[in-house]
């Protein structure tokens, strides 16, 4: 990917239009909504979109009340803000659902690998863990016998299930995608994913394609 969202490709930074930006936001929104795990953050998109909205809102300050043009702009802003909010909510919901695993993954991340959390999300996740652990301790664990005062949140909170099925739409043609046939391990087979075609299959097999943007979830 080479657009305003990838911070590690400065040398071939392409300019994208605001319209393309909105398309990217909507795609990120739906991918996040439908993928069982937390996806890589898209804070560059979020920031660009917020900048656009802020800019537009500033202009609108000068508009007259009841101005039809201003009204149209406001309606559009409301729509974009909904997508933005819903996208960020989906992420927060997953962070709350899987926090020990997400933090563990961040910890074991190699230097230079992309982070899945934004800095702010990371603060939120760490606070959520600390808050929850401290609550459990104060109310119950510290009153338990010495050998039972510890609880491993990693084991207690369920992991995201990557074997879940997803619906997807193909953006870039893919060849030889391995499908594990459920009734027989020997009967694995491959499929080609034609551009524009739609499929129902296991998330684990296509997770890299969601990450690279070759397919989008629907």
């Amino acid at each position: 990917m080479s657009d305003c969202q990838s911070d590690h490709s400065d040398e071939n930074e392409d300019v994208i239009t605001p319209a393309e930006l909105i398309v990217k936001l909507e795609e990120a929104w739906l991918n996040e909504k439908f993928s069982p795990e937390l996806l890589e953050h898209k804070s560059e998109i979020v920031e660009c979109v917020m900048e656009q909205i802020g800019h537009m809102e500033e202009n609108l300050q000068r508009a007259k009340k009841g101005d039809i043009k201003a009204n149209i702009h406001r309606m559009e802003i409301d729509r974009i803000r909904f997508v933005l909010n819903s996208y960020l909510r989906s992420r927060l919901q997953k962070i709350e659902k899987f926090f020990p695993h997400i933090l563990e993954k961040e910890k074991s991340r190699e230097e230079g690998d992309p982070s899945f959390l934004t800095a702010e999300e990371s603060v939120f996740a760490r606070e959520y863990l600390a808050n929850t652990e401290s609550y459990m301790n104060k109310v119950a664990l510290k009153h338990m016998p010495p050998n039972l005062q510890h609880m491993d949140m990693l084991k207690a909170v369920p992991k995201p299930c990557l074997d879940t099925f997803v619906f997807l739409n193909v953006k870039e043609r893919q060849e030889n995608i391995l499908v594990e046939h459920e009734t027989d391990d020997q009967r694995e087979y491959v499929v080609d994913l034609e551009r524009g075609s739609q499929h129902l299959m296991c998330y684990r097999t296509i997770a890299p394609l969601v990450a690279s943007g070759a397919v989008k979830l629907m």
């Binding site: 043009k69 729509r79 084991k155 499929h199």
Partner: protein, 186 residues
């Protein structure tokens, strides 16, 4: 996903309106609209068309496919074929509802159109159930779902995905156990 969110996506589709006001080009973040001139057709997203219509600032021109004869043809085709036939709009259901609810006076034979679209929907949903049943029965791992629309997927999404998830887990039971036993299950 809530159906209102699918409808939200449908509202981005473009539709032709005939405005009764004039306005210069509007430079939206998502692209330019207009200019608007009284009596001259112009394409706008459905969300805007409906708002203008509610404020009596335009007449909506129904999409070409929203026509009794065309829909009858589609219905016959849908009934004849076992697979999902290509549909003229990926948001046919949402657009029908939106336009008929808010601009019925601009759409000839609105009631007939409502019935036809509902027939098409019902036929497709019945097919969808058949394919879900065979997917589960054959314990498939992949299905190609061309021409299925988002709203159609969405009505059965949670049910289908949860069912597949259960089946997957029960399938894992059948394979000789390799997973390490969890130690915290007391």
């Amino acid at each position: 996903m809530d159906p209102s969110e699918v409808e939200f996506l449908a509202e981005k589709e473009m539709v032709k309106i005939i405005p009764n006001f004039s306005l210069d080009k509007v430079y939206l973040i998502g692209g330019d609209l207009g200019p608007f001139n009284p009596g001259l057709p112009v394409e706008v997203p459905v969300w805007l068309a409906l708002n203008l219509k509610q404020r009596q600032k335009c007449r909506i021109v129904p999409p070409e496919w929203m026509d009794v004869e065309k829909l009858e043809e589609i219905r016959e085709q849908e009934r004849k074929e076992d697979t999902f036939t290509p549909i003229p709009s990926p948001y046919y259901m949402e657009l029908t509802k939106l336009l008929l609810n808010h601009a019925a006076d601009n759409i000839p034979k609105a009631d007939e159109i409502r019935t036809l679209v509902k027939d098409i929907w019902d036929t497709r949903i019945a097919k969808l159930r058949l394919s879900i049943d065979s997917f589960i029965n054959q314990q498939e791992a992949h299905a190609k779902l061309d021409n299925l629309t988002l709203m159609e997927i969405n009505t059965t999404r949670s049910f289908l995905l949860d069912s597949l998830n259960c089946m997957y887990k029960l399938r894992t039971n059948v394979q000789p156990s390799t997973a390490a036993e969890k130690t915290m299950d007391y």
